[in-house]
């Protein structure tokens, strides 16, 4: 089905998120939308999906003007969408979420959950996804929730499919599978809109690329353009895609993890007897496929896991058994992997979120009273420093674009005096320019002597940042290798194969 957006304008108060945007997607075309964080991509897609009403402009399907007053209308017209901010109901199971909105029924209008379950199984098989149809969505990690979103959209046989940053939380293998599926769908005439910040993906699948900047279409790019060309078109200036990183000046071992094991609340051994250390001024990256214990390792360090055995010491002080507050007070900065769930309060303003984990004392609290002037000044400063695109410090975090939300979390954690930085997926959802900025900041932190633990499922990120790489598989560490280890070796290690040279580095 041919999709045409004609002159779409969407305002939020004084802010023009979409400014007369026109895009045509031909049947059987994969159309990539590229743009910085806050450029207006998700807004445009939410207009298409009927979640927002456009202030101006029209939506045409096969040259017929459409009128969507809600997602129901859009779905009925054959549009499916994978949202950046998931639209799943946490207390429903995977199957129930997938069938929501077009529930299959059996005789007498009873819900046919069995059929939905079957559908989930069938699609996840096609995809190579490992999904339990009966799991509660609220209990699943983000990466898995993303798969549920994708399956939900695919199960409806939509004629126009929108993918809003589906790959931000997928593993490289899953991403490859998804791109295969997209190509298959395209063969059958489905029109696809694909939003991503990863240029490699763009180049791999895009037939056409539209670049949006500051709410406007700034032009089309060819899929054969180089990374640098695409990036500079998005940002409006030339940017470095690889950061300068000098040699690490190593100090004393600061974080020492010794024979650490973690048993999660349902009684599974999720981290199995691992040991490593991070020296002052060193970045250690934990690589691995999502769900191999990285999350729990980080949670154990932060005091968020209760059943922890073994030792974690920071500069000689044990962190095991301490409360989150005590760990934070020991100088640990923490970027959680799921910003919506654990990093932000969406109904709080940017300023309030910037003090979220510093509400226990100075400078933002004195004598039990919030120091609003101090906070406002601090927030204004961070808004500029981290280039957070928002109307002001009073904007609710929930109204920010995904990448800008991530920047709020980073701004908060990187603005403290740190003894250790723990960053899980620090650049998830960031545009290329912001990734460069955040990586630079992390390397700066390292150079000032802070030990850094980065957890990333993104090999590019691991390679760009790490001085040493620890690869996790099934709760254990397969090996710790130098930062310049070739990717194919890392790939094998992520599948559980120990490196040939034994434990290097």
């Amino acid at each position: 089905m041919k999709l045409e957006l004609r002159g779409i304008t969407k305002r939020f108060g004084a802010l023009v998120a979409n400014d007369h945007i026109s895009v045509v997607v031909e049947p059987g075309e994969i159309h990539c939308l590229l743009g910085e964080n806050g450029a207006g991509k998700s807004t445009l897609m939410n207009v298409l999906y009927g979640l927002y009403q456009a202030d101006e402009g029209e939506i045409l399907l096969d040259d017929k003007v459409q009128k969507f007053s809600g997602p129901g209308d859009a779905m009925a017209a054959g549009i499916g969408m994978v949202h950046q901010h998931f639209m799943l109901i946490p207390v429903f199971t995977v199957a129930e979420n997938v069938m929501l909105g077009h529930e299959p029924t059996t005789f007498g209008d009873r819900l046919n959950v069995a059929k939905a379950r079957e559908q989930v199984r069938e699609i996840s098989q096609r995809f190579g996804f490992d999904l339990d149809p009966d799991a509660l969505v609220g209990d699943l990690p983000v990466g898995v929730q993303q798969r549920v979103e994708i399956i939900k959209a695919l199960s409806r046989d939509a004629k126009v499919l929108v993918f809003d940053e589906p790959t931000a939380v997928l593993t490289p293998q899953e991403t490859d599978e998804l791109m295969l599926i997209m190509k298959q769908l395209k063969e059958t005439g489905t029109s696809i809109v694909f939003i991503t910040h990863k240029l490699r993906e763009v180049r791999e699948v895009a037939d056409k690329i539209t670049v949006i900047r500051l709410g406007k279409v700034v032009g089309e790019a060819s899929p054969t353009a180089s990374n640098e060309e695409l990036a500079s078109m998005m940002v409006g200036r030339a940017i470095e895609l690889t950061i300068e990183k000098g040699k690490a000046k190593l100090g004393q071992p600061a974080l020492v993890v010794d024979k650490l094991s973690v048993i999660d609340p349902i009684g599974q051994l999720v981290v199995n007897n691992i040991s490593f250390d991070i020296k002052e001024g060193e970045i250690v990256a934990v690589a691995g496929v999502q769900g191999n214990g990285q999350t729990e390792l980080v949670e154990a360090i932060m005091g968020l896991q209760s059943k922890v055995t073994g030792g974690i010491t920071l500069n000689g002080r044990s962190l095991v058994g301490r409360s989150v507050r005590e760990v934070l007070d020991a100088g640990v900065g923490f970027v959680p992997e799921d910003r919506n769930e654990d990093g932000l309060v969406s109904e709080f303003t940017i300023a309030e979120n910037l003090m979220l984990d510093r509400s226990n004392g100075e400078p933002f609290v004195k004598h039990g009273t919030l120091q609003l002037a101090t906070l406002a000044e601090f927030a204004e400063e961070k808004l500029t420093e981290f280039d957070i695109r928002a109307q002001g410090i009073g904007t609710h975090a929930g109204n920010l674009s995904g990448g800008n939300q991530q920047k709020v979390v980073l701004a908060r954690e990187l603005s403290r005096e740190l003894k250790l930085l723990v960053a899980a997926q620090p650049t998830r959802g960031l545009d290329v320019g912001s990734v460069e900025f955040v990586h630079t900041r992390i390397v700066e932190a390292r150079d000032s002597g802070v030990p850094v633990l980065v957890v990333s499922t993104e090999l590019d990120e691991v390679v760009a940042l790490a001085d040493r790489i620890a690869v996790m598989y099934r709760g254990g560490i397969v090996g710790i290798v130098p930062g310049d280890t070739p990717r194919d070796v890392l790939g094998l290690m992520m599948a559980g194969e120990a490196p040939s040279g034994g434990k290097a580095a």
């Binding site: 108060g13 004084a14 802010l15 023009v16 400014d19 998700s42 939410n46 009927g50 979640l51 927002y52 009403q53 809600g70 901010h85 639209m87 946490p90 207390v91 500051l214 709410g215 406007k216 932060m302 968020l304 409360s323 989150v324 507050r325 760990v327 934070l328 007070d329 959680p336 919506n340 769930e341 654990d342 990093g343 932000l344 309060v345 969406s346 109904e347 709080f348 303003t349 979220l356 509400s359 609290v365 039990g368 009273t369 609003l372 906070l375 406002a376 927030a379 204004e380 808004l383 500029t384 695109r389 928002a390 109307q391 002001g392 410090i393 009073g394 975090a397 929930g398 109204n399 920010l400």
Partner: protein, 438 residues
């Protein structure tokens, strides 16, 4: 908090000319006045304050219809409506306007009475009724803001009233302000502890506070009833009735404007408490943490906030406020001794008041005064017009119904739809919070 900073850091694209600006550069809005009005208008139209106001208006209209159809004159004239429609219209006008005029005269100012001092008496009654509702409403609202549904107002009021009452009728010989302060503090602590118990159960075992507070209401009622029927505890010595002795004068809240009015110093305390609640929620560290826990407990935990402890604190504060309402009942409203019905349903009305006030301290204050007016005026309406006081209850109930369904109010008044989603919220809020606050 710092919500309405002047918009001097504009987002990329305020106006087409500015769209080419480099990111990070600041500029001023092209038409600051207009856009600010625009924002203000939207805020008002979509905002909760407007919904609350329209809910009240709509409820009053529905109340009017009910008054009209139940009025005997209207029914009689309806029989010959087609021959003389004027009669019926006049009858409707008479009944409805009569009812609402008497509601006004019963709750704000009575023109029929001679002199200002007499005329203003209904307003004094309204504020007297409002006084316990204000503090109880604040208690419930505080819970809402922290994501907790405190339905235990009744039990907390009963314990607050009993503790304050016991101090107030015992300890003869304590001098005036001291005895009063002692009684008030005792009541507040009793309310806080009773509610804190529900908080503790939730924090330690995860027991749902809705269920525990309801159950604790029953426990409190029968326990207080038993104490009121037992000599040597709360019962009036030598009596067989489940009723306490009268309060000693040294522990009674003095009248605010002289003996002729019922209004007492509790009202001033209620105003101060409203200020305090505002400060607590908007300016204090504790309030910040309460709200964080209420809005996103996971993020609060990761940010080093001790969520179970906050739940206990919230319930303690909430119960302290509600307990104060019980104190006002025994030391202000009825000082001649209390029975187990002293809560007068305020613990439940407080939920409505908190909802109508959108859980904002001054909103709760205004809503409580409105409900005080309904109460004072309802009696007057019944006395002068013979209209059942139940009509007022119907109006109150319709208000609750309408607040619970903002889309209905929007549909009736054809207000614009708010945006269907606000990114983060859509994922998080469902299923996690019983009541959307703020």
């Amino acid at each position: 908090m710092s919500g309405n900073e002047p918009v001097d850091r504009q987002l990329p694209n305020i106006s087409p000319e500015k769209a080419t600006r480099e990111p990070g550069q600041s500029g001023t809005a092209s038409e600051p006045e207009r856009s600010r009005w625009n924002v203000a208008m939207r805020e008002i139209l979509n905002g909760s304050a407007m919904i609350s106001l329209l809910a009240v208006v709509l409820a009053i209209i529905i109340g009017g219809i009910l008054i009209a159809v139940t009025d005997e004159n209207v029914q009689a004239t309806a029989g010959y409506f087609f021959s003389r429609p004027g009669d019926m219209i006049a009858a409707i006008w008479n009944s409805v306007s009569g009812a609402y005029v008497s509601l006004f005269q019963g709750s704000i100012y009575n023109f029929r009475r001679p002199g200002f001092a007499n005329g203003i008496r209904p307003l004094m009654d309204t504020l007297t009724f409002a006084t316990p509702l204000i503090v109880a409403g604040l208690g419930v609202a505080l819970g809402f803001r922290a994501g907790l549904f405190n339905i235990g107002g009744r039990g907390q009021m009963l314990f607050g009233a009993s503790a304050a009452g016991w101090v107030a009728f015992s300890f003869a010989g304590l001098p005036f302000p001291l005895h009063l302060i002692f009684a008030v503090v005792a009541g507040v602590i009793a309310g806080a502890l009773w509610s804190g118990l529900a908080g503790l159960l939730k924090a330690t075992t995860g027991a749902n506070e809705v269920i525990t507070t309801i159950m604790l209401n029953y426990v409190a009622y029968y326990f207080v009833y038993w104490m009121l029927s037992t000599q040597g505890l709360l019962q009036l010595p030598g009596s067989n009735n489940p009723k306490s002795p009268g309060m000693l004068p040294s522990a009674v809240l003095p009248p605010l404007f002289g003996q002729q009015y019922s209004l007492h110093w509790g009202f001033i305390i209620a105003i101060l408490v409203t200020f305090f609640a505002w400060w607590l929620l908007n300016r204090s560290r504790l309030g910040f943490q309460f709200k964080a826990v209420g809005l996103n407990p996971d993020a609060a935990r990761v940010a080093g906030i001790n969520v179970p402890r906050m739940i206990v604190y919230v319930m303690l504060f909430s119960g302290a406020f509600v307990g104060l309402a019980g104190v006002f009942q025994v030391l202000g409203t009825v000082t001649t001794g209390f029975s187990a019905g002293i809560d007068a349903g305020i613990g439940f009305d407080a939920i409505t008041v908190a909802l109508l006030g959108r859980s904002k301290p001054w909103g709760v204050f205004a809503a409580a005064v409105l409900f005080g007016a309904f109460k004072a005026g309802g009696f007057a309406m019944q006395a002068s017009q013979g209209i059942s006081v139940d009509i007022v209850l119907v109006v109150q109930s319709v208000i609750v119904l309408l607040i619970a369904a903002p889309p209905l109010v929007r549909a009736v008044f054809r207000l614009p739809k708010p945006n269907l989603l606000s990114p983060l919220k859509s994922n998080k809020t469902q299923g996690k919070k019983a009541v959307v606050t703020k």
